[in-house]
Point group: C2
Chain length 597, copies 2
């Protein structure tokens, strides 16, 4: 079936049920950023494969809302589908709820599947329906009803993450969450975020490609902790461990009836952005909801000493794989047939030689020449470009190790590039270094620092339409809140996270010239203490990533002495850390590509 046929079938269903506007979000029952194949309803209905986007279908029109990271990709993937692209954040583009309100006629009907719609987004949609005196149907998955050969919900096995990797016992993590519950006077905490559950229980699974978690819910009270999970996922060993910890195991779907039995007057802590609206509406009337970020969100973002020590090891492994890949591609491009996809496979094969490697932390972006201008490009069979000894190759990739998760981007120069290209490459490198070597007072958020990275590009009238950086999970989602680097202040209702020692955030400026090339340089930074004096506690970053920044793209004369010093000190550390593990040829190559400039 083509996308248009699918939309036709959905409209039939809509007509049968009386639904006038049907909204299909990107997520699963846990508001996950990445979802397993079973939950890719929006992708199934639109053909757009990006991680973020919402499809709104009416009888006359279908509209896809996505953000700046995906404008180019969505434009291409929607071509020929008659789905209209809404570029959120651009001037004049309505919010989804405003569009839904406009599309609903007075007294019509709005539909969506409440079990995959976040409570916060769902409430806004219900509000829009109310303003139009419209009915709602939120208990039927209309896409599921027409989806042929829908992939099943996965049943992967769960494994324990030992304390030598996790660094903190579940008992202690639960105690910290319960203290946070007390602070806000909550009797019950409902947790649907898969990464938070995995972090709290020191468990990992394999239910979502690239995110080692297990589909489950958690209900925490002052003296109980109930884990709702498919029984097939849980081995005897895990059952014993959970029993030791006092964690009760119940069936995955039992969370909904269980919440219905809570008593009026009980206070429930949950994060409306991170629970589905069916969980919220399962709560009986009279239950008080405290809508706050999950306490575990901030806790897991601050890596403990064990995690940090492990992460340094993970980054040596990743650095060896990435640097060997870089050496290979720079010396072999043009000499043998290499495509974007075979190159990505080569990199992953290098990773597989490392101990404790568990798999890629996201679908790698291996984007040659003009493909690099698509911020979240992923090579398909059709697009897979042959890599030649010219222009640039942008590779953004990462791995999961027992020692943690990595995310690196390097743009590799594969031949002579123009002076303009080198100026762009150098500007990206300067932005990256200025942020990485910043010193700042405790109290800064990522909003305070973002401009350090963008200013060299802004001076040239350039920008990148994505954040400068995101938090990174520990053997969890490679995108993790609440920390990040952004320039545009958030909505007033959001709580920007103050940077805290132990937080890991990426630093990834880029330049994207559509149809020509893309450049991005990404390192992971861990926040650390610097001096404390009468002005306060100063903080700085340690760069975790260990891979050379391609000196073939650098114009030293366009950098300040300070910036050159920073690049040289970073390259020296890359060389000294990786060399002992390398063979002679690699080592000589690394020496050249980490030389002083």
């Amino acid at each position: 079936m083509t996308v248009q046929e699918r939309i036709g079938r959905l409209r039939q269903k809509m007509q049968e049920t009386g639904v006038m506007v049907y909204v299909i979000p990107s997520s699963d029952c846990h508001e996950s950023e990445y979802v397993c194949a079973h939950y890719r309803a929006r992708e199934y209905m639109s053909g757009f494969t990006g991680s973020a986007g919402t499809l709104v279908v009416t009888y006359e029109e279908a509209g896809l809302f996505t953000d700046g990271r995906y404008f180019i990709q969505a434009g291409q993937q929607l071509a020929g589908t008659q789905i209209r692209l809404f570029r959120t954040g651009e001037p004049g583009v309505p919010k989804i709820e405003a569009y839904v309100r406009e599309m609903l006629t007075e007294g019509g009907m709005l539909g969506f599947d409440g079990s995959v719609m976040s409570a916060s987004a769902g409430e806004k949609l219900l509000q829009a329906a109310e303003e139009k005196n419209a009915d709602t149907l939120v208990t039927r998955d209309l896409v599921g009803e027409i989806w042929q050969n829908r992939p099943p919900i996965p049943d992967t096995e769960v494994f324990l993450l030992e304390e030598c990797y996790a660094g903190e016992r579940t008992e202690d993590k639960l105690a910290r969450v319960r203290t946070a519950m007390e602070t806000v006077g909550a009797d019950v905490h409902v947790l649907a975020s898969l990464c938070d559950i995995a972090w709290l229980l020191n468990l990992r699974g394999n239910d979502i490609p690239g995110v080692p978690v297990v589909l489950s819910f958690l209900q925490i009270t002052r003296d109980q902790c109930i884990w709702y999970v498919r029984s097939q996922a849980v081995t005897g060993e895990i059952r014993r461990k959970m029993s030791e910890l006092g964690v009760t195991i119940r069936d995955y779907g039992q969370i909904y009836p269980d919440l219905e039995t809570l008593c009026a007057g009980q206070k429930v802590l949950l994060d409306k952005k991170n629970v589905n609206i069916r969980l919220l509406t399962s709560l009986p009337a009279g239950v008080q909801v405290t809508d706050r970020p999950n306490p575990s969100e901030l806790m897991k973002s601050v890596k403990n000493e064990t995690e940090l020590q492990n992460l340094r090891i993970a980054h040596i492994k990743e650095g060896l794989a990435f640097t060997r890949f870089m050496h290979w591609i720079k010396t072999h491009a043009g000499k043998e047939v290499i495509t974007e996809r075979t190159a990505a496979a080569y990199l992953d094969a290098e990773r597989k030689k490392q101990e404790h490697y568990l798999g890629q932390s996201f679908t790698p972006i291996c984007a040659y020449r003009e493909h690099g201008a698509m911020v979240h490009y992923s090579a398909t069979e059709e697009s897979d470009a042959r890599i030649r000894p010219e222009s640039m190759l942008l590779v953004d990739a990462g791995g999961h190790y027992l020692e943690g998760t990595t995310d690196t981007t390097r743009t590799m120069i594969l031949g002579e590039i123009s002076r303009e290209e080198k100026q762009m490459f150098t500007a990206v490198c300067r932005g990256n270094l200025r942020l990485a070597f910043a010193k700042f007072l405790q109290g800064c958020t990522g909003y305070s620092l973002d401009v350090l990275c963008r200013e060299p590009l802004w001076q040239m009238g350039l920008d990148y339409k994505h954040g400068t950086g995101h938090g990174v999970g520990y053997l969890l989602n490679v995108h993790e809140g609440p920390n990040g680097f952004r320039w545009r202040l958030p909505a007033l209702t959001e709580h920007p996270a103050v940077l805290v020692p132990g937080m890991v955030t990426t630093d990834e400026p880029g330049i994207y010239l559509e149809g020509r090339y893309g450049i991005r340089t990404e390192n992971e930074l861990v926040c650390k203490k610097d001096v404390e004096n009468e002005y306060g506690q100063f903080l700085k970053f340690e760069i975790l990533t260990l891979t050379p920044i391609d000196l073939d793209g650098i114009l030293p004369e366009e950098m300040t002495m300070e910036e050159r010093g920073w690049l040289n000190s970073y390259h020296q550390r890359v060389r000294e850390t990786l060399s002992p593990y390398m063979e002679e040829t690699e080592r000589l190559w690394l020496q050249e590509y980490t030389r002083e400039i």
Copy 2:
């Protein structure tokens, strides 16, 4: 009477009335930052002369709350008074309302003069009282009752600001305010902010030293505009003009009874931070209050083309005065007896030679050597230091001209200074330039850009405990919102102002080493459009201030080539703009001090 005696008298009054905790804010009935002598109750009671601070008096204790700008000064001025200094913003320092709650015993009584307490601060205090089941007395000015020889309320004359200076007619300004009222559905707008009233009516007065405004209130409805003002202040010409504009004049105090006659169901727009709580409580029950920033706040911050053209002229005048002062002090220090106060007088005498000069825009800071470390130092007869041909002199001063208001700080090198001092001076200059020459996308607030200025200091483990910059009024308060440069994100309830072309903001980093010296370099920047392209509208700044940055303090080798280029281009503009007005000696000196480095 000493401060202790005054506090003793106040405590007597408190005992007579049963008040247990009495709060004395800094402001007048209009929540002005600077107030006329009549309203300096907090200064009278504490001896602390800074512009910001709140005194809380109980039977046992008296505490003064002030911010980082005044920590050193307040510490000195409170010495011997037994008043405890609360450094707001420092860890562990309570908020005023928390302190008041702690000091109030159950069922006690809280007092303050409601006509000088802002509605927002007043509501917090009343809430604290409620939590302690305490009574309140907010209709008596207990300080006024004990104040001997209290200065009278001024009766200065009001003058019209012609359209060639104001650039927009009152009719058009009122129409814009009424449109804003419509947007929020307001029937009535109550305005107490003196600068907003002066801006709207294109009037100026002289009721507050340094701020050319007239004490008055405004009530705007869809078809009426009532100006509450002392009759003595208004000449026949002004009456005629107001009558032409359809502005009704009533007596100053009539605003309170007038507000009592509003009808239930009417919607009143007011800014609780900028009206006194007596205005708020005069509204009858059933009146709906919309608490928002005054629409005129943002409007007046965006200078129109006429104002901008005038400001450029004002800055030539100020630049001539300041540069001549700088030339004189650098060539005469040590050769004649010059003190901080005579130096300040010399600068003002230079200003008086300029046409349309109306007076100083604030008490000048002329701070020699260690006095420079006090951010808001003001020389007294006792402290007035003799200026010698050594160390540094920090001068922060400004004037009001019909063409607008100026605010400049220069630190002048008066002899050989150490390498460390030069490093500090150079770092301050680098921070100043990095912000002034920034390019940035529309949508940035001052919070996004502040770090550009601070980073050179933060790299050295240094900071300044004040904002990087504030908005500047046009022949109004030299401190004007809503724009500014700050690094710490504001409370979630505040709306940070996006930078808009036409906004004027200062750029004033500094280094303050207590007991040693202070360095600050301050320019005024006006926001302007830069290129617009696929990334959006880029913005940049034009530096309005025209005075050399003392090259005797600069270490060129500590600046990047880009920074040196910025300084050279700025100095070239200073030289080219001021030289035509200068005599030979001055011109030669200026040439040397604006030379390329």
